[in-house]
Symmetry: C2
Subunit: 245 residues, 2 copies
């Protein structure tokens, strides 16, 4: 038995029964994003994890934050305040069923993987809508109950994303600036805010312009990383990580 086998066996024994939620936002099952999602399902299942996928386009997931998200009566029907109404509805268990369903999956998860292509330096709208609607006050955060005390503390999160541009375009001197710059609203403003410990992002740069061999190598690198993901230390989610020299 090689030392690598020993490590993998040790990791596997610790990960049996762990719950993983993959929030996946791509329209095409045969896409590169689809391949990254599939390999994550396969690898984590093989480790003994219980893996759930929220396939947002397949679900036709609603991104708009509206009054339809509250099934009961509004606390102030004459003046609609989305944050106030969803906070109240969460407490009264009167959020719409699609939000409740996602909150259940999220509540049970030890690790959440967000798999998406970068759209305008951020998540596609369907995934932004998942964040806007699912991560409501009372469930994901409260006051007090944000950042290190966020209500989802104890959970791990990781962004696994693909870009159109190359790695050099997303460097400090590249046209798009350092990739860490665009991660701030997602990793700090959203995930850290809700209490997640954030693992370093998995960024697959420019798969559309890469060769088939390079694409295969990127998928294999993700599968390989997942073997010991549970051992990783989260990033230090402070401004210096994002904007430091």
């Amino acid at each position: 038995m090689t030392s690598e086998n020993v490590l993998e066996d040790r990791v596997a024994s610790e990960t049996v029964g762990k719950k993983v939620l993959i929030v996946y936002a791509h329209q095409e099952p045969r896409s590169f994003n689809g391949a990254l999602k599939d390999v994550a399902v396969a690898e984590l299942s093989q480790q003994g994890c219980s893996v759930t996928v929220s396939d947002l386009y397949a679900l036709n997931f609603e991104p708009r934050a509206t009054g339809k998200d509250i099934t009961g009566s509004l606390s102030n029907p004459g003046f609609f305040n989305y944050g106030v109404e969803t906070h109240e509805a969460y407490k009264k268990r009167s959020l719409s069923s699609d939000i409740i369903e996602e909150q259940k999956k999220l509540q049970e998860a030890d690790l959440v993987i967000f798999q998406f292509p970068l759209y305008w330096f951020s998540v596609p709208a369907v995934l932004k809508g998942w964040m806007d609607r699912v991560l409501c006050q009372g469930f994901a955060f409260d006051f007090p109950g944000s950042y290190d005390d966020g209500l989802l503390k104890g959970k791990l999160a990781i962004l696994s994303l693909t870009t159109a541009g190359t790695a050099s375009m997303y460097s400090k001197t590249g046209v798009n600036g350092d990739f860490r710059y665009f991660l701030w609203p997602l990793q700090h403003g959203t995930l850290h805010f809700c209490g997640f410990k954030v693992l370093a992002p998995q960024i697959s740069f420019g798969p559309e312009t890469a060769s088939e061999e390079e694409r295969e190598r990127m998928v294999a690198a993700w599968a390989q990383r997942l073997k010991t993901l549970w051992e990783e230390e989260p990033i230090d989610c402070s401004p210096s990580w994002y904007f430091g020299q």
Copy 2:
């Protein structure tokens, strides 16, 4: 006539006939965001501008980027690539009518105002969907044709947003970090990418926890700024503006 009157008259004469598009994302017409939108319509109309509002929730604007955005046949029906298909559909004039409608408004506009409440350090999903779907390749950018050469060059853009947190929470030493950090994906990665000149953001901090007098003062400050907005120099949209000391 005071010198202020003279200035306003001069500005007004230069702004007659200017076209403004307000992309507005709030569910409640009587909200603070609604008041900021209304005062902008009133002030800019009074200047002689032609003002159009895209009220995204009222339009039930579709945020999801899907195959429904292409009305003709797909160039590759067996493997859906949203960027490729919408680029092709733009050239063949076969994008869905709601996208075409927004592109027409945008094409005509000299100035675009985005009015929205900050959701997770970014725009609400309905507005993210407007960006994902309307700003397609061939229309808003191309290669070459990005950043200073973006296809929407010659136009001005400004983000007018409200926050839940206070200004001190959005300072370099505040829990949310400097407000400029979260502007990067929106101002640089989206607006600058498409060629817009970006004016300094109008941020109304914490209207929900402010007094009625403070809210009125914030609305009045926006109205006052709009009187001479056309005279403003755009920001220097470089990393140092966002992340410098």
